[in-house]
Symmetry: C2
């Protein structure tokens, strides 16, 4: 009977495991029941279903616009990298070779040289740059591509870690190190602003420690977000390569002084993991909660007492008005309003618009916002303006709610013991603690507490004088956390 | 000196091999010199450069809009297919297995089962449908994806035949065969309309003969276009599968009579080959000629005597006005107007807008249309309206020019000898000739004349009573041609 009751409460929607009972199961329940993904017979590879893919398309559209405003151009590289090309930069191959998929046969013939399916495309971009860049007049090159990449992971979870995932990878080439560093920082800021202003996800911008850098990079920057369960998720990275790849691939150009020199390089990427970040930052026990700017449906109209004369007509007219500006769905199916409420709550639609006979008579409708359950009566005459304002307020409100949670779960600690006690008492969260810069201390903290160094925040906040681990003078405050 | 003169005429742009001298070289010259593609160290795989990729992005945007208007949804399937899954439909595996790339290792470990890189995704969609389709209420499923696929071809050419290419593949599932056939025909029409109205490429819609069907299909429809050199290019296909795949993959649903039955299926696709079709339908000895709807730059503004006071300001103001509605470029570089004219002719920009001191004084500018070289004086006050009308007229004009060429090179023949004589005298073209339906005659015509059966046109036109080969009663008129 419990199940039946749960089903009734959820209006026919299968129950989602509560977050507090089993967060991992809550997550996969949402992925499956909101029809974001479906497993396949290829381990670690998934189908991204229409509702999930529509979120990605909206993410793409917004980010692609930001990239192009900053004069980036899209290109498309091959998905295969010859083994000899991957090997040209030694740190890079060491980092990626253990986790690539190898193509060895074309049809029935064995290939002369194995090809790996791209885990990332630095090597291909470098080969291309060496062909097309000759003079400072050819610089900067500001390229990006939207593709999928493959990394042969052992354990996988939808969106968070899969063997194939969708992403964009920006690759740029510059005359000077200053310009390349500025690009690296600029793109980190683009990612952070996108997460905060479009997805309502607060992030910490920071630099990765030496041990956590991208294979072949001089410096790796990342944005870190805190999930509902207190674990940390790396949501985007931006790398500065110096001229290391240029030297390995012999990319040279004639500079303004007519000398042959090496250019300086960056790369930066975000992935479908952002969908995982949305789920785990905003979701609740009733299901998904989607940020309006990327929600496939921004508002759903639910007719109340739809058998009564005039209700469906009025709902249809309202839909037509709103669909000119917003992504709108009208559910005029035979299911009960209660069933529909639960269904679209589960799907995370930001605003529900209820419209019944009495509303119509009064020239109004009711807005219910998904993230906080607030109701508001809205005059039909102002409905476009009100919906626009409500969607904007929802994005801000979701951000503030998530930020309050992040702040509540960010702790400053002075000793390793304090980190252990804090995590034991309060559960996972962000730990701010000072670090001397030694890899030994970094490893010790992780081994003793489970919390690894996530990043050295650009905004250092209040500093501590000595290393949390060894007590020697600190180099910087570090953000520690238990990572996804 | 010839080379120097050529360079001068082309305003500094490297000369393109004339079409009549060497059509294949003319084609690859355009691909490289217009910066559409660049070769890589992976044979048969290419970099699609920003200018080429922007054309593909415009193609995508328009087609994706058409698909979505017809209620199709985008999804994303994995790129890998386990060997056992590929083998489930026997015709399908027989058709594709000889040309797939096989992944055998993940990192340093050999896989238990080989995975092929998708050459097409019917098998993955079928596996997914079997999981998610249970009732007639779940139908139709109208899915599409934009991805790249791999086919291990022996000989390759940019856009026309490469080992990896970009495409969209629609996959739909229906309650009845009638509905599935209607979908197959509808999508063929969408492709044909897109080619004709958006790309200005006239096409013949037809059905493929039995020997030329897609592996696993009951019927394959295609659109065929005639290139400048008289060769035929298949520009898109749409397949009806009946319930063959559904039976092989055990996709069943409960129908309206509460019985378990098999659904009916389609798939349809177009590829980056369309860019090859654009080049070879519209291009000329001065370079690319791009249809306005997909041209990355729709009009380029060239200031004349730009050192004179007011010219660059006026050009900048004109750009700002036009950029609100159109994809506009202003070239205010130090290069001469003549150099710029040649450069943007080579790049196929549909309209050049010249603006000099006397134009400014007279409140006018000059439009020059790329496809026919026509000049027109346009009042600056009307420039938005005039550009819109000009771009629309250019698309129609390009279509009519290409159609006239296609008509001129389409010949009706009554005997195999007549086909041979026609091709010998006039060069390659479309041959209309009747066919009895036997594979022997189909093969004989191809072996004797070089022209294979391209399709059985839906619009049969004037019919002939007897087979061009054996003289027995004809089943249908067939379009024959020398294929790319």
């Amino acid at each position: 009977m419990a199940n039946e009751n749960e089903k009734k409460q959820n209006g026919g929607v299968d129950a989602i495991t509560p977050m507090d009972v089993d967060f991992a199961k809550w997550y996969t329940d949402i992925c499956k029941k909101a029809e974001l993904v479906e497993y396949t017979s290829v381990k670690g590879c998934m189908v991204i279903r229409p509702y999930g893919y529509a979120i990605w398309e909206n993410i793409q559209k917004i980010l692609d616009g930001y990239f192009k405003e900053l004069r980036h151009e899209n290109v498309c590289m091959p998905m295969f990298i010859p083994e000899s090309l991957l090997q040209k930069e030694k740190d890079h191959v060491a980092g990626f070779a253990p986790e690539v998929a190898w193509v060895t046969h074309g049809g029935s013939e064995e290939l002369e040289e194995r090809l790996c399916v791209r885990p990332t495309s630095e090597t291909l971009f470098c080969e291309h740059y060496a062909n097309i860049v000759h003079s400072y007049r050819d610089l900067p090159k500001l390229y990006n591509q939207w593709v999928s990449v493959v990394r042969w992971e052992k354990t996988t979870r939808p969106f968070l870690r899969s063997r194939e995932f969708l992403w964009q990878e920006g690759h740029t080439l510059h005359e000077t190190p200053e310009e390349a560093v500025a690009e690296t920082e600029q793109m980190l800021k683009v990612y952070a602003d996108f997460c905060e202003k479009d997805l309502g996800i607060p992030v910490v911008k920071g630099k990765k420690s030496e041990s956590d850098k991208f294979a072949g990079a001089e410096a790796t920057y990342a944005i870190e977000a805190l999930m509902h369960d207190g674990k940390a998720l790396q949501a985007g990275t931006s790398h500065y390569f110096g001229d290391g790849f240029a030297r390995a691939f012999d990319i040279q150009f004639t500079n303004r002084e007519n000398k042959k020199v090496y250019p300086f390089q960056t790369s930066w990427g975000v992935t479908t993991r952002l969908i995982g970040a949305i789920i785990m930052t905003h979701g609740d026990d009733r299901g998904l909660v989607l940020p309006p700017r990327v929600a496939p449906t921004q508002a759903v109209i639910i007719p109340v007492a739809q058998h009564k004369p005039g209700v469906l007509d009025a709902a249809g007219a309202l839909k037509e008005r709103l669909a000119k500006t917003f992504r709108i769905k009208l559910d005029d199916s035979e299911n009960s309003p209660g069933w529909k409420y639960a269904e679209y709550e589960m799907k995370g639609v930001p605003v529900r618009i209820e419209l019944g006979p009495r509303d119509i008579e009064a020239g109004q409708c009711v807005f219910v916002t998904r993230f906080d359950g607030q109701k508001k009566i809205v005059a039909l005459a102002d409905v476009e303006k009100e919906l626009e304002a409500t969607l904007a307020a929802v994005t801000v409100g979701m951000y503030e709610k998530a930020l309050a949670n992040q702040n509540k779960r960010t702790y400053t600690c002075k000793t390793v013991q304090e980190i252990k006690d804090t995590l034991a008492e309060k559960g996972p969260g962000f730990i701010r603690a000072a670090w001397c810069g030694s890899e030994v201390c970094e490893k010790t903290v992780k081994d003793e507490t489970g919390a690894g160094s996530r990043c050295i925040p650009l905004d250092q906040g209040e500093q501590e004088p000595v290393c949390v681990c060894c007590g020697k003078p600190a180099q910087a405050m570090v953000l520690w956390g238990i990572a996804y």
